[in-house]
Symmetry: C2
Subunit: 185 residues, 2 copies
Amino acid sequence: MAAERRQGTRERILAIAREEFAQRGYSGTTIADIARRLGTTTAALYYHFTSKADILDSLLAEPLAAYGRLIEQTAAASMPAAALLAAYIDFTAETRELIPVIAADQSAMRALLDERLPRSPEEMTAAIIAALAGPQPSRAATIRAHAAFAVVKEATLAALATSDGRLAAPDRDEILTAALRALSE
Amino acid sequence: MAAERRQGTRERILAIAREEFAQRGYSGTTIADIARRLGTTTAALYYHFTSKADILDSLLAEPLAAYGRLIEQTAAASMPAAALLAAYIDFTAETRELIPVIAADQSAMRALLDERLPRSPEEMTAAIIAALAGPQPSRAATIRAHAAFAVVKEATLAALATSDGRLAAPDRDEILTAALRALSE
DNA sequence: GTCTATATTGTGATAGAC
DNA sequence: GTCTATCACAATATAGAC
């Protein structure tokens, strides 16, 4: 509480917004909700941010750019599947607090994703699947690629939900092993 | 088009709403959007449904009840993991058109889920994980259970996205095999 | 069953004082 | 930096004619 008050107001707004957006969704959260938890009025928010969308953008711009870089890197170098999956586990763990913001209100994110990602979310997922499935993949290999990607995304979040916020090394190994098993023929 | 016009107006509204909700999210879709695609006015919709929430409820009530029954069944009988995972693949395939409605605007679904599910979504997921992880599961076994569940959810949707709408038997086998591999020690 | 017109409310955003 | 006051608009919903 004391620590929270020592932060700049801007940072406190972002922290509150992150929690509210994750719980109620971006559309379901009002500026008034954030202002009330901050202990001020809606007008005060507009001194720190130009709009509600600006708050969302401030939260997600950097992580989305990082996600974009990760994809470019994946597409360029031909990474082994294990390295690629490990990279996604680590990325998910690092951005764990922001993933629920996107998941809670996917459709409201559309505009932001179009602006902040180098390619459409669908194309980016397709790039990952292609990298995991290998050249000239069979239909079965493509399905296994989807399976492995699903594992790194969801099992990582599940492991983090019952931990102190850091991903323990044994958990990371277990997730990676499970993903590689799902990918194997 | 001719076939669409032969349906009752109520059914046409539901079909349009399903598409719009899946694309723009429940919050992001207005009654006016639906009315425009229907070729009428918003007032006309209120002859067929009592509210916007009533449209959502009419779409999802039955599938959510079915999901609830599936969980009860899972918790009661001690199903083998393979049977349980297969049941979830089939359930996902059967309700494929409605899953995007929920996914697009998760937080807006909260009220409906509370009303239409026997337990909270979190508890229901926990029941599935418990059934997959077995009695007195290690942390690793719990992670593998999450991994297997992620596979049946996401790989099934991925397979359906590139098919005629039905889940082909070889695809179903491939998904089940990948899930069981992710679950295996 | 569908229309026009309108009531009502919620919410993002701004003006201007302090 | 924050306040009071208020605007503008969009969206759900209703009344009553046809």
